[in-house]
Structure formats: structure tokens, C-alpha cells
């Protein structure tokens, strides 16, 4: 057996780091519900009967379209995700299931997008969106995010599709089922666990992105929540209640989703681990 004191030291180190990782977030969350006086007098204290207030949240909702920003982010994220998973699974299926001329080159071509950030093409992307009349639309963001998310999604889904037993599709082929039906009725349902992993990997960068909303859709009520918070805090920088409340509103949905789905993400990140 391992030595006990060593184990205790390990736990102390891990607990201390966990506190360091969560402390700042916790601090924002508790102070968002306190009066301005309490924020400054007792920043580490939990809100109590005297100090509890939601005035910050009231101001955020009164002075900004937070609900709208949230809805914009949700639309962009969900539509991008559905398209990435569907289109990405189709391409991954084609690249892993069939051997055809150029399949290796196509895989390499797609791999470029994993290493080279699409952000560097922003000058041309903006030009294109201006020509297509898509500036300040959510469509522009969705198109860019789908292009950005596809390469990694195809890689992950492809590896997963390879693990599906061959017998299933061969049996279907013997029954004369079309390639399209094999994909949509047999393969797509089978890869749902991988879809969860792809979803987490895809959703997080899309939901959190500042660059493309700032460049492609900075106004006209098309702001995403990240940009909306950034603009709001820029305006109300001295109103600590409002700033803390807006940060809390931006953190809360991610926090809830993360705690619900963290096992998929951890599974994805540690994919290949055998134990």
C-alpha cells in the first residue's frame, strides 16, 4: 500500500489548486447578489438577509437586451452544432467507409483546418459577408463556425465510425438497402455517443467566441452573449452591481451545462485511455 502522509499531501495540493481554480468564479457569483456596500466591505462573505439584493440583475435587464443576446448565442450555437454534426458525420462516413481516389488527400486537406486558425482569413471573410449582404446576421456567424468546427468533428467522428462493426452495414447491403439509408438509419443513430463529444468540443468555442461576433455581427441586436457582455461592461464599468450581475448571467448557463455534461467532455479529452 502507498504511504498515508504522502497521500494527504497530494490531496492538500489538489484541494489548494481547486480552490485557486474556482475561487475567482465563486467570488463573482456571491458578490453579484450583494449590495454595493457589502461588495466592498466584505467581499468574501456570502450574501445574507441584510446584504442580499438583485439590483444588479434588474439594471442589466433594464439597460441591455440580455435575453436577446442569450437567444442569439443559443441560435448560433445550436444551428452550428446541428450542421457540424450532420454534415461532418456524412463526410466522416464517406472518408472512412469508402476507399476512393483522393480520399487521403481530402483527409489532409481537411486537416489544414485543425491546425490553421480560420481567424487569419477574417479580412476576406468580412469582404465576402459584405458582398453576400450577411453582415450583422447570425447566418454569417453560423457559416463561419460550421467551417471552423468541421475538420475536428470529421476527425473525431471518423475514428468513431471505424469502430462500428462492419457486419451491420454489410448485412444491410445484402438486403439491398441504399447507401443513404445505411448512413441515416444505421450509422447516424450508432454514433450518438461520439456526437456528444463533438458537441461539447464544438459548442464551447462557438458560445465563447468574441472575434467573429465583433467583426461580423457587432450591432443591430445581433450581438452574441459574449460580445453583449463585453459591450455592456464597457458602458457600465463603474456600476459594480451591474457588472457582477452581467458576468454571473454569462457564467451561469455554461456552468450548468458543464456540470451536466462534463463526463462526455472528459471522456472525449481522455479518449484512448484504457483504464
Amino acid at each position: 500500500m502507498t504511504i498515508r502522509p504522502g497521500r494527504i499531501a497530494v490531496h492538500i495540493a489538489l484541494v489548494l489548486y481547486t480552490i485557486l481554480a474556482l475561487g475567482p468564479i465563486f467570488l463573482i457569483l456571491i458578490n453579484a447578489f450583494k449590495t454595493r456596500r457589502a461588495i466592498f466591505a466584505d467581499p468574501l462573505g456570502l450574501p445574507n438577509a441584510q446584504t442580499l439584493t438583485t439590483i444588479g440583475f434588474d439594471r442589466v435587464f433594464a439597460n441591455s437586451d440580455f435575453g436577446l443576446y442569450f437567444f442569439n448565442s443559443l441560435t448560433v450555437t445550436v444551428v452550428s452544432l446541428v450542421l457540424i454534426v450532420l454534415i461532418g458525420a456524412m463526410a466522416a462516413w464517406a472518408l472512412t467507409e469508402y476507399r476512393f481516389r483522393g480520399s487521403t488527400i481530402l483527409s489532409l486537406y481537411l486537416a489544414i483546418g485543425i491546425m490553421v486558425p480560420i481567424r487569419l482569413g477574417s479580412v476576406s471573410i468580412l469582404r465576402m459577408m459584405v458582398e453576400l449582404n450577411l453582415v450583422n446576421t447570425l447566418t454569417a456567424l453560423i457559416l463561419v463556425y460550421v467551417a471552423q468546427g468541421l475538420p475536428l468533428a470529421i476527425l473525431i467522428l471518423g475514428e468513431f465510425i471505424q469502430q462500428i462493426p462492419k457486419d451491420l452495414r454489410d448485412a444491410a447491403r445484402c438486403d439491398g438497402v441504399s447507401e443513404y439509408r445505411i448512413f441515416f438509419s444505421i450509422i447516424l443513430p450508432l454514433i450518438s455517443p461520439a456526437i456528444a463529444t463533438v458537441a461539447v468540443f464544438t459548442m464551447v468555442p462557438v458560445w465563447n467566441d468574441l472575434w467573429f461576433p465583433l467583426i461580423l455581427a457587432p450591432g443591430d441586436g445581433k450581438q452574441t452573449i459574449t460580445l453583449g457582455v463585453q459591450q455592456f461592461i464597457g458602458q457600465y464599468v463603474t456600476d459594480w452591481n451591474a457588472v457582477l450581475a452581467s458576468l454571473t448571467l454569462a457564467i451561469a448557463p455554461v456552468l450548468v451545462l458543464y456540470l451536466l455534461f462534463s463526463r462526455y467532455l472528459v471522456r472525449g479529452l481522455t479518449a484512448g485511455a484504457v483504464k
Binding site: 497530494v10 476507399r99 487569419l120 479580412v123 448512413f183
Partner: protein, 320 residues
């Protein structure tokens, strides 16, 4: 070769599959290739093309060859800013490599200890900041380090380091380090997870064999585990490199596009944004912006190539 791995049972299909590119493969591939090419590859190529042009006030563009790059690297109005951003970016990257990946490695080592109680809880919680928006993290730390709120100085005072505190984000000498450490704090979870997975993949037999042969914990780490996770450390390094040389959001959220004080936190991402959109008295220039983006692309490609041909090839022999 146009034959499929799975032989088709329809005679008509066999004929068509043999004679031309199978339609269904094209149908499966077309949407992904179209969107990816149009909104990812084409803009990158077009950006490189644009970097060879110069625009005037009327919007007309003329081909100028590599002059934009010459301006960027030699014109006193540009080169100072470019090299400043580049140097800052290198420092930003170096801090991530040492601190972020060092802490990530340390945490992964602790978490991979056999029969560790609560390991998955630690992993989940330590990874949490990585999930939040860089912008939100930037604002959180800006509030915490704000001398007005006073939470950072009072916490430091509690551990006896009260005199150490300063307006770190506002001083030219400390702003870049502070911003880098905020980013490190947020992203430590990624190297931690990747290295943790790699450590789990090392067969127990190897570690047991080393222990039986008399290797202490330090020797096991240095001579057995570290060499075996080198490929993962390579992946972590290149991911860090690409992310750092493409960073923008954090500096923009904390310091704005001017990356103050006095450009001390300016990195290539913020420099690109300013060049493209303009700031204060300077008008934005799409063509100069494209030139900066192309320079960033070249830097990132050099990094990726060094990794692929210099680092990864040498490390591959260690994998199972």
C-alpha cells in the same frame, strides 16, 4: 481505384461504380467540402492574395508584390509595432509553456496516482475555468486585481505578502506577465487532461518492472513515464503555440484594442485587429491587415512544420 471496400450487390451499381466517381460518396462529401472550402480555405488563400495589394482612398487596389511586408518589417511606423507584438507574443507563449504546461503536468501526475480518491471530481472542477469565455475570465480577474475593490491586496496581506501588491494590470512592467498568468490560470486544464490521458495509457507492467529493478519514484518519472508521454507533450506544445499566436480575446477584453499601457500587452492578434480596423488617428487597412494575417499564418505554419518534421518524427518511436 474506384472500387468500394464493400462490394455492391446491384449489378447496375457495380457498373456505375466502376466507370465513374460514385454519386453517393460525392453527396456525402459535398456539403462539408463546400462550406469548409468557401468559408475557411478560400478566405485564407484570398487573404494571402490581398496581402500583395495596396488600396488607396477611392478603394481601388493595385498589385504591389511584397511591398506590404517590406513596410511591415522596415518602415519605422510599422516595424516597431510588429516586432513589439511579436516579442510580446513570444513571451506570452514562453510563460504558457513553462507555467501552464508545467502545472498541467504536475496536476496530471498527481491525478494519475493509482487509487486516488476523488480524482474525477478534481479533474472536473480544475477544468471548469477552461469552459468559460476568455472575455468573462478577463473581466473577472480585472475586478479581482482592481485596487479599488481591494480583494487581492487583502488576500495577499492575509498570507503576509501585502506589500507585494501593485496595480499589476496597469503597470507597463507587469501587465504582460499578469495577462499571461490569467490565461495560464484559465487553460491549465487542457494540458492537464491530455497528459493525464497519456499517463493512464502507460502499461502498469512497465512501471512495476522499473520499480522491481530498484527505480525510485523520481527515476520512474524521469526515465520511464516522461519519455513515454513525450509525444503528448509535443501535441500540447503545438496546441499552445497555435492558440497563443492566435490569441486576441483576453487582451481585447482587459486592455482594449490598444493593448496598453503603452502597447506593453500588444500581441499579434490585437495588432492584426488594429491594423485591419484602425484606431484613434490611424485608418484601418484591409490590405495591411491581410499582410499582418499572412505574417501570422507564416509564423504558425513554421511552428507547425517544426513540430511535424522536427519534433513529432523523433517522438513517434516511443509510442506503442
Amino acid at each position: 481505384m474506384t472500387d468500394l471496400t464493400a462490394p455492391s450487390v446491384h449489378s447496375t451499381d457495380v457498373v456505375s461504380a466502376r466507370s465513374r466517381f460514385p454519386v453517393h460518396i460525392a453527396v456525402f462529401l459535398a456539403p462539408a467540402l463546400a462550406i469548409y472550402t468557401l468559408f475557411s480555405i478560400y478566405p485564407l488563400i484570398d487573404t494571402i492574395r490581398l496581402s500583395l495589394y495596396a488600396g488607396d482612398e477611392t478603394g481601388a487596389r493595385s498589385f504591389v508584390g511584397l511591398r506590404n511586408f517590406y513596410t511591415l518589417l522596415t518602415d519605422p511606423n510599422w516595424s516597431g509595432q510588429f516586432w513589439n507584438a511579436f516579442t510580446n507574443n513570444l513571451i506570452f507563449f514562453a510563460i504558457h509553456m513553462v507555467v501552464q504546461n508545467g502545472i498541467g503536468l504536475g496536476l496530471a501526475m498527481l491525478l494519475s496516482l493509482p487509487r486516488l480518491i476523488g480524482g474525477s471530481v478534481y479533474r472536473t472542477l480544475i477544468f471548469l475555468p477552461t469552459m468559460l469565455s476568455v472575455v468573462i475570465i478577463g473581466f473577472i480577474w480585472q475586478l479581482i486585481l482592481n485596487p479599488l475593490w481591494g480583494i487581492a491586496p487583502s488576500l495577499l496581506k492575509a498570507v503576509g505578502l501585502g506589500s507585494f501588491f501593485g496595480p499589476w494590470l496597469g503597470q507597463e512592467s507587469t501587465a504582460l506577465l499578469t495577462v499571461s498568468l490569467i490565461s495560464v490560470w484559465q487553460f491549465v486544464g487542457i494540458p492537464m487532461m491530455l497528459i493525464y490521458a497519456a499517463l493512464l495509457n502507460i502499461p502498469d507492467d512497465l512501471l512495476d518492472a522499473a520499480t522491481v529493478d530498484g527505480a525510485g519514484p523520481f527515476s520512474v518519472f524521469w526515465f520511464v513515464r516522461l519519455p513515454l508521454i513525450l509525444p503528448t507533450l509535443g501535441v500540447v506544445s503545438i496546441l499552445t503555440f497555435v492558440a497563443n499566436f492566435n490569441a486576441f480575446d483576453l487582451i481585447y477584453a482587459i486592455k482594449g484594442a490598444l493593448a496598453g499601457p503603452n502597447f506593453s500587452t500588444d500581441i499579434l492578434g490585437t495588432f492584426f485587429y488594429r491594423t485591419f480596423f484602425g484606431f484613434q488617428l490611424q485608418v484601418g487597412s484591409p490590405t495591411m491587415g491581410a499582410a499582418v494575417a499572412t505574417a501570422m499564418l507564416v509564423i504558425i505554419l513554421i511552428g507547425v512544420l517544426i513540430y511535424l518534421f522536427g519534433v513529432q518524427r523523433r517522438l513517434q518511436r516511443h509510442t506503442f
